[in-house]
């Protein structure tokens, strides 16, 4: 027992700065009600996704044609769709799909985009030219159109949707990272590392990369809204998730024709999209507002 | 009211309301600047000297608030005057200010000559103002004044820009010119030009100067009287040779020992560091770093003691000193 206590207190000692930073972030968050709303929505999304099998009242794929297009009731809180599937359960499982898309896209884009951006910014010259011209080419197209084109070329499926979205989004992160790198590399502490003999690779990884993280995180959070929108758009057009996957955009697409008489079929999934995008936008704004003075102080 | 005083600051208290807490930046400052004198307000980073200068023009920046105090100028308290009044009659007219980064302080879209004529436009016709502007530029030793008047601030060097600022700030024949670190960003050889210019001009225009700086050496060379500030308090005031030859406050003594001088072969620092003004030390704010601290220093704020004529210090040590 004594051992544990000393271990904890020595951990606290070594990380006292982070602990007080965390306290400050919590304090700043508390002061911004919109950020709390955004955070709550996002946390709710994640929790629902994790607990989906346990909290969803019915099987999302089970069809009950005898009960199709049923209006909201006690047994089906949000009604059923054109194949008799419980809409609430499908929305709940849809959070998993949405989250999966976001995670995959980020997992591809962040390392790729940030890495390319830092390399372009740090080394300059023809490396910079090549990377930035590639980025320009991708950025010249409106995202949805480009994603559609790639999705169509690869074939309609959820995985291909994720790849397509990832391809359209890396240039933004590269641009961001490059911009940050350009200003960071002129700072004296980088010169100090050079004077110490630190290798270029280590300078990039341990000195430049950590400083790009705040803008990247803000951008990524705000972008999550876009990811969901584009994925939904692609599914709506038939290029993304395929039935019976409970993807929100797909649900809106297939439910479209029932809008007048069985409004709940496309509306609730649409609402889910709205809440998710809203949540991420608020959270992103909040993170940006909080990180600005907090980090400026350290720089 | 002291008859000869041009500006009298009485019991000024200013707080800054920041996210970390309330910074008690100015802790009850009393200061007077006489007519026609060159007064140096000296202190290190964070002592409040710049804030004091801004307060004279009631220009304390956010999140600062003047909690109490008066600033008496020509019989009226600037702090209780109407804002419009202050703007019309005092700021840029009777009391003007030059700062550390002159190019940044000048309007980038106005030509240099126009910056000056703008200040004069109320008192005289445009033609007369333009003529006066050229005269002033000549007075501040700007070569080819007509050419410079036609240029823009970004085309000027630091030293020239500072001289244009001085010309602008003397155009309205102010009674007081506040100079906040005017030469800190300038090279030594240019600094000498600007300081000597200031001294000449002040004599000619019969104005007073409040020179705010961290550099005690330039104060020693240019000023008539000196005020030393530490952590929001004025700790010592006196004539220049009184302060240099007979410093009484332990902080002033410490400062002198930290400045290179040919006669002293060694520098001695002041141990410790400037206190956090969100939680300033109780009693005398200097006591944690003072070698002569006694119990009373930790409990009560020292009163200002008079030691010789014109020489005061805020320290319990000086209590037994000669008075008057």
């Amino acid at each position: 027992m004594v051992d544990l206590r000393t271990t904890i207190s020595s951990w606290k000692g070594r990380h006292s700065s982070e602990i007080s930073d965390a306290k400050e972030i919590v304090h700043a968050t508390k002061k911004s009600p919109l950020t709390i709303v955004g955070l709550s929505l996002v946390v709710a999304l994640v929790l629902v996704a994790i607990l989906a099998p346990y909290i969803s009242p019915h099987d999302p794929i089970a069809m009950h044609l005898e009960n199709r297009l049923a209006s909201p009731s006690m047994s089906h809180l949000l009604g059923t769709d054109e194949l008799g599937r419980d809409i609430l359960s499908r929305i709940v499982h849809g959070t998993r799909v949405a989250l999966l898309i976001m995670i995959i896209v980020l997992a591809i884009d962040l390392p790729l985009g940030v890495f390319l951006g830092i390399v372009a910014g740090y080394f300059g010259g023809w490396v910079d030219e090549i990377i930035m011209r590639m980025a320009d080419i991708f950025m010249a197209f409106p995202r949805l159109i480009l994603a559609m084109a790639i999705g169509a070329a690869l074939g309609p499926s959820l995985v291909n949707t994720m790849i397509a979205i990832a391809i359209t989004m890396w240039p933004a992160y590269a641009r961001l990272a490059r911009g940050e790198t350009l200003s960071i590399k002129e700072r004296t502490f980088i010169e100090a590392e050079k004077a110490l003999g630190t290798s270029k690779a280590r300078i990039i990884l341990s000195s430049i990369l950590p400083l790009c993280s705040s803008t990247t995180i803000v951008r990524a959070t705000l972008d999550m809204g876009n990811v969901i929108r584009i994925a939904a758009g692609m599914s709506f057009l038939g290029l993304g998730a395929q039935p019976p996957t409970p993807e929100w955009g797909l649900m809106v697409a297939t439910g479209r024709s029932f809008l007048i008489n069985q409004w709940w079929v496309p509306t609730f999934p649409g609402f889910a999209i709205l809440l998710a995008v809203f949540g991420f936008n608020l959270l992103g704004d909040g993170i940006r507002d909080i990180s600005d003075p907090h980090l400026r102080r350290g720089e | 009211m002291i008859p000869e005083a041009l500006v009298e600051i009485n019991d000024l208290v200013i707080n800054f309301y920041t996210y970390r807490g309330v910074v008690k930046a100015i802790n009850g400052v009393n200061l007077e600047i006489k007519k026609g004198e060159f007064f140096g307000l000296v202190g290190e980073t964070g002592c409040g000297k710049s804030v004091t200068g801004s307060a004279i023009l009631n220009l304390v920046p956010n999140p600062g608030r003047i909690e109490k105090g008066e600033i008496i100028f020509k019989g009226k308290d600037i702090l209780s005057m109407d804002e419009d009044d202050v703007r019309e009659r005092i700021r840029g007219k009777e009391i003007t200010m030059i700062m550390q980064h002159p190019i940044a302080a000048l309007n980038p879209v106005l030509k240099n000559g126009d910056q000056i004529t703008e200040a004069l436009s109320r008192k005289m016709s445009e033609g007369a103002a333009k003529k006066r502007a050229i005269e002033l530029l000549k007075e501040v030793n700007i070569p080819e004044p007509e050419k410079i008047a036609n240029q823009y601030p970004h085309q000027l060097s630091g030293g020239m820009a500072q001289r244009v600022m001085i010309a602008m700030m003397l155009a309205t024949e102010p009674s007081l010119l506040i100079a906040d670190e005017p030469t800190t960003a300038l090279d030594v050889s240019i600094q000498a030009q600007v300081l000597s210019l200031l001294q000449d001009l002040i004599k000619r225009h019969k104005a007073s100067v409040l020179l705010i700086t961290h550099d005690l050496s330039i104060v020693a060379e240019t000023c008539d009287r000196v005020g030393v500030m530490y952590a929001g308090d004025i700790v010592e005031v006196g004539e220049v040779d009184q302060i240099i030859n007979n410093p009484r406050h332990p902080y002033t003594v410490g400062l002198m020992r930290a400045i290179p001088s040919d006669s002293r072969k060694e520098l001695v620092g002041i141990r410790g560091s400037v206190p956090d003004l969100v939680n300033p030390p109780p009693g005398c704010r200097f006591h944690p770093r003072c070698d002569y601290t006694r119990d009373i220093c930790k409990e009560r704020k020292p009163k200002t003691m008079q030691m010789e004529s014109n020489h005061t210090a805020a320290c319990f040590l000086c209590e037994g000193g000669r008075s008057g």
Partner: protein, 316 residues
């Protein structure tokens, strides 16, 4: 005592726009011996900051040669260059930007140890970092702090520890106390002096403050517009300045004690830009002791006037 750093005819011209150059350094030669405290003094545009970096090869010279302990290091690459980094170090002027804001003090000071494989374990690293923290007068409670939690003086001490932990022989101090308050400056300078004694270091002290140079250094080279105008023992230069620029600079340096003040030679005009420096002697546009046309045409050579006292001026 042997030589440690020698510069021969160093020039550094930075390209600027089309076919023009910033002539930051325009032909400087000097010699620094072991255990010297050598001042490099000058104002803006003098090239002193660039020269410090060229010595360390943080910037490569346009022409000329650099020698360390007699060996030519002008063009060495990679492993030899890394080895050099251990022997020649630098402390920068601004303690607020020379430390990485997101790294802890332990990582900042220990960075060099990792790069040069000077320690074999994390434990050894912490021990060594603690040792040097103590050496600069700070305690181990700072190991896990961030720079923004430290005062300016403390940050500068960390920067000193970072440089010295590699056990260099030569340290460039680039205006190490200009950004600090006077009371803190004194402590940092005293610390640097103590460390020089204990660790057998040679210092190049770059400064614009002549009073500091006089107090702290033994030899001084004064620079103006990329060239060296005067060089010699510090006391000598102050008591008997020969170059008109040095005379002016010494006279206008503010002095606390009125007895030390001399008649001020206030130079007229501005410091010319190093982009198009005046032909001949760069100082002739402001010189009150100008000899004549020769000052406008020919750049004066450096002559030894008395033992160890060199001046580059047509007066002599």
């Amino acid at each position: 005592m042997g030589e440690i750093v020698r510069l021969e005819h160093i020039k550094k011209h930075f390209p600027w726009k089309k076919r023009r150059y910033v002539k930051a350094i325009d032909g400087v030669s000097l010699l620094i011996n072991k255990r010297d405290i050598f001042a490099l003094a000058g104002e803006s545009g003098s090239g002193k900051t660039t020269l410090g970096r060229v010595m360390l090869r943080l910037i490569d010279p346009t022409s000329g040669a650099i020698f360390y302990e007699g060996a030519d290091i002008t063009n060495i690459k990679t492993e030899k260059e890394i080895e050099l980094r251990r022997k020649m170090q630098i402390v920068f002027q601004d303690p607020y930007s020379s430390l990485h804001p997101r790294k802890k003090i332990k990582a900042i000071i220990g960075s060099g140890l990792k790069t040069h494989h000077l320690v074999k374990s994390e434990k050894e690293l912490v021990e060594k970092v603690e040792e040097f923290l103590n050496l600069v007068g700070m305690g181990k409670e700072h190991l896990y702090r961030y720079p923004h939690e430290l005062s300016g003086g403390q940050r500068q001490r960390v920067a000193i520890a970072r440089a010295l932990i590699l056990n260099p022989g030569f340290v460039v101090l680039d205006e190490p106390t200009s950004s600090l308050d006077v009371s803190v400056q004194a402590e940092v300078l005293n610390l640097l002096e103590r460390l020089r004694e204990n660790l057998n270091l040679t210092y190049l002290f770059i400064t614009h403050d002549l009073s500091l140079a006089r107090l702290f250094t033994e030899k001084i080279a004064v620079m103006y517009l990329g060239k060296m105008t005067e060089y010699g023992e510090t006391e000598d230069i102050f008591k008997n300045p020969m170059h008109p620029y040095t005379k002016a600079l010494v006279s206008v340096t503010p002095k606390l004690d009125p007895k030390e003040r001399t008649k001020k030679i206030i130079l007229k005009g501005e410091i010319p830009s190093p982009i198009d420096p005046p032909l001949g002697c760069g100082f002739h546009t402001r010189c009150i002791e100008k000899v004549g046309r020769i000052c406008e045409r020919e750049s004066p050579q450096s002559k030894e006037m008395e033992e160890g006292h060199f001046v580059a001026c047509h007066l002599y």
